[in-house]
Symmetry: C2
Subunit: 212 residues, 2 copies
C-alpha cells in the first residue's frame, strides 16, 4: 500500500491539506488526543505515518514510506539519500546567522576566527563557515538556541527564522541568511523509479495542484 | 551568580522540588504559559535556565551553568566533560533492547549479524553491540522509535523503558537491559573545583537531602 511520511509540528496541517486536495484523507492525525502514529486513508488506498521532522527522510530513504513531506532545511542537514521532487511552497523560512543586538558584527565575515556558534544545524553551519574560510567553534544544541548569546555560551547562532519574533524577543539580530527553505515532496528513489504502489500517479496529482 | 541548568520534561518537577527543599525556588518554570528560559530565585541568590534534556550537559560543560540535573542516559550518550556528583534517585528507567512480540529472539545475542536496530541512543547502542561483538546496522531516529519494528524499518530497537506501557501498546517485547538510569546532579568541573559562587555549599545541601 502507498505509504507517506508526514512531519509532526508546523508542517502537519498543510501537508494533510495537500493530500486532501488530491483525494487522500489523513485528517485523523489532527484530532485532539490522537496517539496513533500510523493511519489509513478511509478509502483504504494509502497509509500515512507521522514522525519527527528529522525522521521523515529516514523512513523514506529506507523505503518504509514511498513519499514524504519535509523542510529543505532538514534535507540539507541530514543529507538523506532521497529524491527531491517538488517544492511545495509552504512553511517558508530561512536559516540565518544571528548575533546580539549590541554586537559590533554586521555580517558573518566580520566574526573573529574561532567564534563560538551554537546551532541545531551543525552540518549546515559547518559548510557555510567552511565556504567563507572562517574557522568557528560549533556547539551542538538540541533546542532553544537563542539562549546561546544570552548566557554567553556562544557569540553567534545559526537558526531558522520565520517572522523574526523569537530573535527580537531575545535581543538578537540577523546578520546573514544561509539559505531559504520551504516544504518539499520527497520520494524513495527506487520506489519512484519502479512506480511502486502507484506512487507516480500521486506525484503527478500533487504536481498539478502546485503548478496547475 | 550561581546558575543551574534544568531539563524540560519529565525531570522538571522533581528537579524544582529538590532545589526548593534546599531553599532555592524555581517553581516559576511550572506556571502555565511560562515562556522565559531563564529565571532568578526570588531571593536573588541563584538563577536557573530550562533547556532540553540533551542540552543540560552542554551548558554545564561550557560553564554557563555551574550545576545541572539530567538523566544518566543522556550523560552516557553525549559523553560530556562534566563532573557527576550525586545519584538523585528519581526519574528511574532503563535503556533496553526490544523486538516484536512475534519475534523468535529471546536476548540481544540471538539477533543475527547486521540486524537493523533503530534508536535515539546510537552511541549507547553501538557500544553495547560492540561489547557483544555483534555487528548491527544502526538507524538513528529522533523519536517514536517504536515505529521501527511496526513498519519494518528495523528488527529491533534500543529505547528507554519506564513502565513498559509504550512497548506493550506497540506489540513489542523487552529482551535485554543495557543499563538502568536515574537523574544525576552534575557540575562544571572547574567551577566545582574552585568552588565558584558557592557551588560547594549547594552540592553539600543536596547531598544531605538525598543521603540524610
Amino acid at each position: 500500500m502507498l505509504t507517506v511520511a508526514l512531519a509532526k509540528g508546523e508542517l502537519t496541517k498543510s501537508s494533510i491539506e495537500l493530500f486532501k486536495s488530491i483525494g487522500l484523507d489523513f485528517s485523523a492525525f489532527l484530532e485532539p488526543g490522537m496517539r496513533q502514529l500510523q493511519i489509513e486513508d478511509p478509502t483504504g488506498r494509502a497509509r500515512a505515518m507521522i514522525v519527527r521532522n528529522k525522521d521523515v527522510p529516514v523512513h523514506v530513504e529506507y523505503g518504509q514510506a514511498h513519499l514524504g513531506i519535509v523542510g529543505y532545511d532538514v534535507l540539507r542537514e541530514k543529507k538523506a539519500n532521497v529524491a527531491q521532487l517538488i517544492d511545495l511552497g509552504f512553511a517558508g523560512c530561512r536559516l540565518s546567522v544571528a548575533v546580539k543586538q549590541s554586537s559590533p558584527y554586521q555580517s558573518a565575515l566580520d566574526l573573529p576566527a574561532h567564534t563560538r556558534v551554537a546551532s541545531t544545524f551543525v552540518n549546515c553551519a559547518r559548510e557555510y563557515f567552511q565556504a567563507l574560510d572562517l574557522p568557528v567553534d560549533l556547539i551542538h544544541l538540541s533546542g532553544s538556541v537563542e539562549l546561546g548569546p544570552i548566557t554567553g555560551l556562544s557569540e553567534a547562532i545559526v537558526d531558522l527564522v520565520a517572522t523574526g519574533t523569537t530573535l527580537r524577543e531575545n535581543g538578537l539580530r540577523e546578520i546573514d541568511v544561509i539559505f531559504e527553505t520551504t516544504a518539499r515532496l520527497i520520494a524513495n528513489p527506487l520506489s519512484y523509479r519502479l512506480d511502486q504502489d502507484g506512487v507516480g500517479a500521486i506525484v503527478e496529482k500533487i504536481r498539478q495542484q502546485i503548478h496547475p
